[in-house]
């Protein structure tokens, strides 16, 4: 069967075709070939356009055409190859060929789509490879953008944290002074009636202020402090004011605490910060009015809901749940909620569920997200119970004193804030102790070099040196000296000696007395 096609039809079917005559001279070629191999013009010798030996051998060309062989041609004038087949064309031959891309994908600098015959599978292959490469580039760009955004957020958070920490620390010092002086006034039996009531109100307000600044300092640290055995119920109760402040006026926030005295080893900073994040999320979805309830329960591992990617260990868990009465969360959203690029609450001011999730994992627990009983969303942090024994750390007031403890101790007080130093001195003298005052680490060293003391009561953060360094030095030169450190920040426990005591500012007078007694009990003899 013969089909009549002209050069225009050939150009459509085979954009890179070449027709040669019996003498292997080019008769015509397709538009793509003309563009890619400018030497392929009518009249040119085929063997001068392409490198192959047989391109100059007319007998071989005719034999290949008769056999309808598959062929490959390489241009002499440029780095370009073609593949296809050859068929007889009268006395000559027709080469139906396609260019081969010089690189994978769309990166060939010369080729274009119309250089290939209409049905060529090379075209979709090249396009799809090009799309694949573009998507990879896009993903890399998106990952970089995400990292930059996170760095910006973290940088801003760090700056805010530092600012908040500095403010809280300085305010804390002033609060300590006010609290100590208020306590001194409260001890004055002469104050009666209206004045007594006013002083009591002042004392209560200072206590609440102390709770707020302590919580602010915890959050301002924004790093996980040491994992300490902690009573969760107590921690939550202590931070209720900060939780309520975070929730805002329109939200009724309540606690329902039933941890049955169990203790977990947890970073207090991290847990408080995580709960603040959850409260922020709940506040946003309840659009500023509604209810948030924080509950604690003791549960067995078997009661744990499935949490994707988490193996729930054996034993008991304290479950801290934040439940709101917002619109709730679908199962799909709950399953995807901890993905790092997405939060159910786009407007949330906190870091979102991913950070809470990471914190829980770090504490060897996990989080579970679901629907609250009355609608709304419930996010539960499951933390493994450490031991049934009561929390250690800050001692409850009213501890027993030991018979061997001296009634009157020599106490060196080191504090760079002058008002706080004076107030502490008066307080300790009021408790019956002999007191020496030092305004910094250097003057403290000078005093201790000359005479001994029973107790070193020192601030940690001071302009002329760390209180911890001072305590280590003092323990060397005055063996057996009792040490009480005080600060608004919780120090890294690894730098502290086991027999030292720590007082968190602002502290109550009874706690100060208790720490002094414990330090005296811990000493191994007169310094």
């Amino acid at each position: 069967m013969n089909i009549a096609v002209n050069d225009a039809d050939l150009a459509l079917l085979f954009p890179s075709y070449v027709r040669v005559d019996a003498g292997l001279r080019v008769v015509s070629c397709g538009p793509a070939l003309s563009r890619l191999v400018p030497a392929a013009v009518a009249g040119a010798r085929f063997g001068e356009v392409f490198k192959e030996e047989w391109a100059c051998d007319s007998a071989r060309v005719h034999a290949m055409a008769a056999a309808r062989k598959a062929i490959r041609l390489s241009s002499r004038s440029c780095r370009r190859m073609f593949i296809g087949s050859v068929i007889p064309d009268g006395d000559g031959a027709l080469f139906a060929i396609n260019p081969t891309p010089m690189s994978i994908g769309c990166d060939d600098p010369v080729l274009q789509l119309s250089d290939f015959e209409p049905g060529s599978p090379i075209v979709p292959a090249i396009i799809l490879l090009g799309m694949q490469q573009a998507l990879i580039d896009e993903a890399a760009e998106a990952a970089l953008e995400l990292v930059k955004e996170r760095q910006k957020s973290l940088g801003l958070l760090e700056r805010l944290s530092r600012l908040a920490g500095i403010f809280a620390h300085d305010f804390n010092n002033l609060l300590s002074v006010m609290a100590l002086n208020a306590k001194c006034l409260q001890r004055d039996a002469a104050l009666q009636g209206q004045s007594r009531r006013q002083i009591d109100i002042l004392g209560e307000a200072l206590d609440r202020g102390a709770d707020l600044t302590q919580s602010l300092m915890v959050i301002a640290q924004q790093r996980h402090d040491s994992r300490l055995p902690t009573s969760i119920d107590r921690l939550l109760a202590e931070n209720l004011d900060i939780f309520k402040s975070t929730a805002g006026r329109g939200i009724a926030l309540s606690l329902d605490l039933r941890d049955e005295g169990a203790v977990v080893e947890v970073s207090k900073t991290g847990l408080v910060a995580s709960l603040v994040n959850l409260i922020v999320n709940s506040r946003e979805v309840t659009t500023g009015c509604g209810t948030i309830r924080i509950s604690t329960r003791l549960k067995d591992a078997g009661a744990a809901p499935p949490a994707p990617g988490v193996r729930c260990g054996e034993g008991r868990y304290i479950v801290i749940e934040v439940i709101d009465n917002g619109p709730g969360i679908s199962e799909e959203a709950a399953a995807r909620a901890v993905e790092t690029f997405r939060s159910p609450s786009r407007l949330a001011g906190g870091l979102g569920l991913p950070s809470v999730h990471d914190f829980a994992l770090e504490m060897e627990g996990f989080i579970a997200i679901g629907a609250g009983r009355g609608g709304g969303a419930a996010v539960a942090i499951w933390l493994p119970v450490a031991s049934p024994s009561p929390a250690t750390g800050e001692t409850a007031p009213g501890d027993e004193s030991r018979a061997l403890r001296p009634a009157r101790a020599r106490i060196l007080v080191v504090e760079d804030e002058p008002l706080a130093l004076e107030a502490l001195g008066e307080l300790l003298e009021g408790l019956g102790h002999d007191v020496e005052l030092a305004s910094g680490a250097n003057s403290a060293r000078a005093i201790l070099a000359q005479r001994p003391c029973d107790i070193l009561l020192t601030d940690i953060v001071m302009p002329d040196g760390s209180g911890i360094d001072l305590a280590n030095w003092a323990s060397g030169v005055r063996a057996g000296i009792g040490v009480v450190l005080m600060s608004g920040f919780v120090p890294d426990a690894s730098g502290l000696r086991g027999e030292w005591q720590f007082l968190r500012k602002p502290f109550r007078q009874d706690l100060l007395r208790e720490m002094i007694n414990k330090a005296l009990d811990a000493r191994s003899g007169p310094a």
């Binding site: 994908g105 769309c106 990166d107 060939d108 010369v110 080729l111 274009q112 789509l113 119309s114 209409p118 075209v123 979709p124 090249i126 396009i127 799809l128 090009g130 799309m131 490469q133 573009a134 998507l135 580039d137 896009e138 760009e141 998106a142 690029f341 997405r342 786009r346």
Partner: protein
């Protein structure tokens, strides 16, 4: 429409008005990172809503905004990760327009749910090409005109784009062009 359009709109707003204005647009349109995946197809409503918001920000009518975006789209695509695909589609304006349908057919292999327009060259001559545009969507003729204007810039040509009245049939565009130095 596919997410690449959203990315293009984002780039246009950031270039013209800055990042802060874009954040506002994004917030107003209720979009998140999930609406900017290039090869994912989104409801047209999402895209048209975003175009409306962007138009207001740019102080343009919807038609003016579409035309501006069409021209910008060519530059955005050429300079971005899909630039190589654009170059493969055509090395001159006539080849590019003539190869668009074939390129779209290949794209459909990866995005079968996409609804792509069709461009057919109905007439061409030196410095002139007449293109018929067919689409399931209405109202995007200004965008198409902008695309052709963008192509003129891309191939370093000067010229004009005019929509020709085709009496109810698929719209056609007359693209006249010449080299920037005044040559053919």
């Amino acid at each position: 429409m596919y997410g690449m359009i959203h990315r293009g709109l984002r780039a246009l707003v950031i270039e013209e008005l800055g990042e802060a204005q874009w954040r506002d647009c994004e917030h107003q349109a209720g979009l998140g990172a999930g609406e900017f995946i290039s090869v994912r197809v989104y409801d047209d409503e999402v895209t048209f809503n975003l175009v409306q918001i962007v138009a207001v920000r740019l102080g343009l009518s919807i038609e003016e905004c579409l035309r501006k975006f069409g021209a910008y789209w060519i530059r955005f695509t050429a300079d971005g990760p899909y630039g190589a695909m654009m170059r493969f589609t055509g090395r001159d304006i006539t080849s590019f327009i003539g190869n668009l349908d074939r390129m779209h057919q290949s794209v459909l292999m990866a995005m079968p749910e996409a609804r792509v327009p069709s461009f057919s060259i109905v007439d061409k001559a030196e410095g002139l090409v007449r293109v018929r545009y067919a689409s399931e969507r209405d109202g995007l003729e200004p965008l198409v005109a902008g695309l052709f204007e963008g192509l003129l810039q891309r191939f370093e040509l000067q010229g004009s784009v005019e929509q020709v009245d085709c009496q109810g049939k698929d719209p056609e565009f007359l693209v006249r062009y010449h080299a920037k130095d005044g040559g053919p």
